[in-house]
């Protein structure tokens, strides 16, 4: 986790809010550093994490996680982390007989299916077991990422329904958090992705948007992060806040600074 990002979000692993949906999106840049941040953040907060990783392999997240101070292998072994490795298990749908539907069963269906088997996998992974287990604080669902589900043939409404059910179970029933990543297609006209992104934006409590700089690539400033808080639960008189920072990704950390205040130009 990146301490500077925790400061910007005004949160620490000990006193993070519960029952929230956080939307990560990226436009013209790679926002996966945010996924690594939240993965290590919630593992350090002693939460039970279900990670639906459809983009990269387990070892990729493990290597980055070690740089950020968490060991995914150990977390998986002691039951804190439930990892669905999409790249590997997608092949199992075709080659291994399954009694109950595989989480990625939609890959076999000719018509646009739904994500009910995936939701049931998540619910099973995060349901609170009896009191004998080491007490995890609250459950967290992490998805990297949702745009690839659209590329695999699902409709935007099916993905929105899946997140709706995850919100109902994880956020409302189990008082946990959900963090999802969606890519913003930007200039490319992609109606389904726009419906997915806007639909999730309306449901989210916190939106983190990583954008590339409008002027192009830069060695010292890798992009710009927009933070938008929606639906403040305490007082509705406080309008939704929005902050913008620029960032530079280093080997083990990300440094944030106000726009135009990069150490390279000062």
């Amino acid at each position: 986790m990146f301490p500077e990002l925790n400061n910007l979000l005004n949160t620490t692993p000990d006193r993070a809010e519960q029952g929230k949906l956080t939307l990560l999106c990226d436009a013209k840049t790679d926002g996966s550093f945010l996924v690594h941040h939240f993965l290590s953040f919630y593992l350090k907060a002693n939460c039970k994490v279900c990670f639906v990783a459809l983009i990269q392999s387990f070892s990729h997240y493990n290597i980055v996680g070690q740089k950020l101070g968490v060991n995914l292998t150990m977390a998986r072994e002691r039951g804190q982390l439930v990892f669905l490795e999409g790249l590997k298990s997608a092949v199992d749908v075709f080659f291994q007989p399954q009694e109950k539907p595989h989480p990625l069963q939609f890959l076999r269906e000719a018509n646009a299916g739904n994500l009910k088997p995936l939701f049931e996998f998540v619910r099973e992974a995060l349901k609170p077991v009896g009191s004998g287990e080491a007490g995890w604080t609250y459950p967290v669902l992490l998805v990297d990422d949702l745009s690839v589900l659209l590329s695999l043939g699902l409709g935007a409404v099916a993905v929105l329904d899946f997140i709706h059910y995850c919100r109902a179970t994880v956020c409302w029933e189990l008082k946990g958090n959900v963090v999802v990543l969606v890519h913003d297609s930007g200039d490319v006209e992609d109606e389904e992705n726009d419906i997915l992104l806007n639909g999730l934006s309306h449901q989210s409590h916190l939106i983190l948007r990583a954008e590339g700089l409008a002027t192009g690539f830069c060695r010292d400033v890798h992009g710009q992060l927009r933070i938008l808080w929606r639906r403040p639960s305490q007082s509705t008189s406080q309008r939704d806040q929005s902050l913008t920072y620029q960032y530079k990704i280093q080997d083990r950390s990300v440094s944030f600074f106000a726009k135009g205040m990069s150490p390279a130009v000062l």
């Binding site: 329904d161 409302w172 726009d194 639909g199 309306h202 939704d240």
Partner: protein
């Protein structure tokens, strides 16, 4: 105008966006209806019942009837708890009620219904519900007044469904704002009257009561200070930007070197006889080897 929206009757559409959310205004209008003594039904598809009831005090909560379509809208849990017929079934059931009191139905949200149901079905049901009081059924029994309002997320739908719902609505409220201040643009179409369009600035207090405001204060708007005069950049220069009269005359009298005037033409045509032949003056260097002999002497031409 904003606080008397529901009194006009018919369908009220609250159009919101990601930046300016509309659920707090929906809750404020629901609270107003409840305080007027109406029965309020909420068809909740997007947020949980606890989250919707949060912020209301108990006497308002007692008047709200929440139909929960958030927990299991598609019946994935197969427990049979899901309300039969879905949200539209519940909506139609409210039409067939027998009591006469005015009722307010709040839909959270139209967008959820549009994404899951065909637009035509939704529009037909809304038309039936909202026009019920103006067309009493054939047996002459009186029907109570029905107010329907709901949230519509603007970015999620194309112009077709948005236009269809707009044409059904008597009142359309579009949320926006500037500089942290929320505004509502209210477009009101009453039968046999000209449509009205006005903008109202407002804010929602923590207890979901509506606070109408004048608009963003003038001092907070950035504007140029009238006490600082505009600076003239041509003053105090180190070089001359203008010509005096004498300088202008001298400039006009100057002939340009490559301009072919008639004097030049005549000078070229008539060679001047007094022109002396040109001379070359040469100073020999110290190590220069000067030989007076003609090098071509031994040529036998």
């Amino acid at each position: 105008m904003l606080d008397s929206l529901l009194a006009l009757g018919g369908l009220v559409l609250l159009r919101d966006s990601v930046e300016w959310e509309g659920r707090s205004l929906l809750k404020a209008l629901v609270k107003k209806s409840a305080l007027c003594g109406e029965q309020v039904h909420i068809l909740g598809c997007e947020v949980s019942e606890e989250e919707f009831r949060e912020g209301f005090d108990s006497d308002i909560n007692n008047r709200l009837v929440y139909h929960d379509f958030f927990r299991d809208p598609l019946n994935w849990s197969k427990t049979g708890e899901a309300l039969p017929g879905g949200p539209l079934g519940a909506l139609r059931a409210m039409c067939n009620r027998t009591d006469l009191g005015p009722v307010t139905i709040a839909l959270d949200s139209f967008s959820w219904l549009l994404l899951h149901l065909p637009c035509t079905t939704l529009c037909q049901t809304l038309h039936t519900v909202s026009h019920q009081d103006s067309c009493p059924p054939g047996d002459g029994s009186p029907v109570g007044k029905v107010h329907v309002l709901g949230l519509l997320h603007e970015e999620l739908h194309g112009p077709g469904p948005m236009g269809a719902l707009s044409s059904l609505a008597q009142t359309e409220v579009t949320l926006g704002g500037t500089m942290g201040q929320a505004s509502a643009r209210i477009l009101c179409r009453r039968p046999r009257q000209r449509p009205t369009d006005q903008t109202q600035w407002f804010s929602i207090l923590p207890d979901f009561s509506l606070d109408l405001q004048e608009g963003p204060s003038i001092e907070s708007q950035p504007h140029s200070d009238p006490h600082i005069p505009p600076v003239d950049p041509t003053a105090h220069l180190t070089f001359n930007l203008h010509l005096s009269k004498k300088e202008r005359e001298a400039r006009d009298n100057l002939t340009l070197p490559f301009q072919f005037s008639s004097e030049k033409q005549e000078a070229l045509l008539r060679p001047r006889p007094s022109q002396a032949t040109s001379h070359i003056f040469y100073e020999p260097d110290a190590y220069d080897d000067l030989d007076q002999e003609d090098p071509d002497d031994d040529l036998d031409i």
